[in-house]
């Protein structure tokens, strides 16, 4: 089903997404007692990158040229399926969140193979870790989704968010809280945030996401950075839709409440990044499996409740 009115909200999200990393960095700077870069820093970075010319490694093939486009368009395509600003998504159908997860999956596949394209040891490291963590995080996302499908009876993410109401939180606070925590852990994993990966580290041996984009420059890097920011927006949108669920909101309040929710999520991520240390790599699979365990517990509680 196509919703034409949601295209405006979609375009708005395209413009607002680069603010997200800016807010997170501002919060981190606040915790560090610094002033920090301006909130609109990513816009300036993207603008600067668009005017540079590209440098490619001599080992790179056509894949390195194609990958940024694939990543960019796949992530934006996933945005078309995501409900935002308390409106249904531009395109909804049964099982659309699975398609969304797999669109992000093809973006990841291109990222990983392009990382191997350049024949660098570090990028291979990042690639091998990325594929494991995302393989473990996907079941957690889907288990949480399953609980919500049972709660609301709709098979499409827009339908789920339209049906969710504060009543669900009142009736089953434990279940919803477990799903929220589980999805937060999935957000941190998929977007390479602490405690899974440190976006500010300079040691290639420890990087997961940052190291795979080491050899990109100019417009390619701009597309990939934008896609990373947009992916963060998508996952935060999932959280906001889950937590703030009021179906009967007057249209005037859609933008402020959603924006406030996203702002709060960004602040929360910034706080987590500032207060927790990055985990040792051998403990990360256990952490992600833990989020899956939380989702499964929510599932068990749901069935026990029936």
């Amino acid at each position: 089903m196509i919703n034409n009115t949601s295209i405006l909200w979609f375009i708005l999200s395209l413009f607002l997404a680069p603010l997200f990393p800016g807010i997170i960095n501002k919060v981190k700077a606040f915790f560090g007692g610094k002033k920090g870069p301006p909130v609109t820093q990513l816009y300036f970075d993207l603008f600067k990158l668009m005017h540079k010319s590209a440098t490619y490694s001599r080992t790179a093939t056509l894949l390195t040229r194609l990958a940024p486009f694939a990543i960019f368009f796949a992530t934006i395509g996933a945005g078309l399926l995501m409900p935002g600003f308390f409106n249904p998504a531009c395109c909804t159908f049964s099982g659309d969140i699975i398609f969304m997860a797999y669109l992000l999956g093809i973006a990841r596949f291109f990222m990983v193979t392009a990382a191997l394209d350049r024949g660098s040891a570090f990028e291979g490291m990042g690639a091998s870790r990325e594929v494991l963590y995302s393989a473990l995080a996907e079941p957690a996302l889907f288990c949480g989704l399953l609980v919500l499908i049972y709660e609301t009876g709709s098979l499409s993410i827009s339908g789920i968010f339209a049906e969710l109401s504060p009543g669900h939180w009142q009736q089953n606070p434990a279940i919803m809280l477990l799903i929220a925590v589980s999805w937060m852990i999935v957000l941190l994993t998929e977007n390479a945030r602490i405690p899974v990966d440190d976006p500010n580290t300079h040691l290639e041996l420890t990087m997961i996401h940052e190291v795979m984009i080491l050899d990109y420059s100019s417009k390619d890097l701009a597309m990939i950075e934008y896609a990373a920011a947009y992916k963060l927006w998508l996952f935060s949108g999932l959280l906001v839709g889950l937590v703030i669920s009021t179906p009967a909101m007057p249209t005037l309040l859609h933008f402020p409440v959603f924006a406030a929710g996203m702002f709060l999520v960004a602040v929360l991520i910034g706080m987590i990044e500032s207060t927790i240390a990055r985990m040792r790599l051998i403990h990360i699979p256990k952490f992600i499996v833990g989020s899956g365990a939380l989702a499964i517990i929510a599932l068990i509680l749901k069935i026990a409740g029936n």
Binding site: A174, K286, G290, I296, I297, I300
Partner: protein, 224 residues
């Protein structure tokens, strides 16, 4: 009462997945606190007697004060801060725990068909604590974690008792409390003695005690 049971379950899950002994001890202390509160909630706000309140405060002090302090002392004396990799890895323990929770839920749901139960969620939690206590006992290598498993097992038995109906008399509850106290006291003594005799707390080497020849060599080591 349901929310306390849920918190108990989650603390047990964290216990299964954590490799740091300090966190594990803290979780067991937290469980002790929750159980004390559960006692009060199980009876209901209308039937609170001073004796019951004193009992619950005593159990809180014992289970989340004294015992964790003993365990902390044992941890410091033995010098181990972290659990080494158990027989099934931590992630697998967590998933086993979730599977055991599902099994307990299924058991409770079949029990519900025959007889009504006062609080099915608490009963599920009780079974889950018993199973995960057993899992900890079976799969961990350090004697300290096995002690914690024993404690979780006792907590589970206690919760099961509470959830089946608060008609339990004070005597039985005191008996259970004494059981726990004596067990832990003994384990504490054993831990300290074990520590002094063998110089490490790896429980999977306990089986060396069974062989007479090896016992002789161990005595020689202690002499040096």
């Amino acid at each position: 009462m349901n929310s306390i049971a849920t918190l108990l379950t989650l603390s047990c899950l964290l216990l299964l997945g954590s490799s740091r002994l300090r966190v594990a001890i803290r979780m067991v202390a937290f469980q002790g606190l929750l159980l004390g509160l559960l006692q009060l909630f199980a009876v209901g706000p209308g039937h609170l007697t001073p004796g019951l309140v004193i009992l619950s405060i005593t159990s809180i002090v014992l289970k989340s004060g004294l015992l964790p302090w003993l365990l902390n002392k044992a941890m410091i004396v033995s010098g181990t801060k972290r659990e080494i990799e158990p027989f099934i890895s931590f992630g697998a323990s967590m998933l086993c725990g979730v599977f055991l929770l599902a099994v307990s839920g299924w058991i409770v749901s079949t029990l519900l068909e025959t007889d009504p139960i006062a609080s099915p969620v608490a009963l599920t939690c009780g079974f889950f604590l018993v199973f995960s206590g057993l899992l900890l006992l079976m799969t961990r290598r350090k004697a300290l974690t096995q002690t914690l498993g024993f404690l979780v097992l006792e907590n589970g038995v206690f919760t099961t008792g509470l959830s089946l109906g608060s008609e339990f008399s004070t005597m039985v509850e005191l008996g259970i409390l004494l059981d726990v106290f004596v067990g832990i006291f003994l384990m504490g003594i054993m831990l300290f003695h074990i520590d002094r005799e063998f110089d490490h707390l790896d429980a999977d080497r306990f089986n060396e005690l069974s062989d007479l020849e090896i016992a002789a060599t161990v005595v020689e080591e202690a002499d040096e």
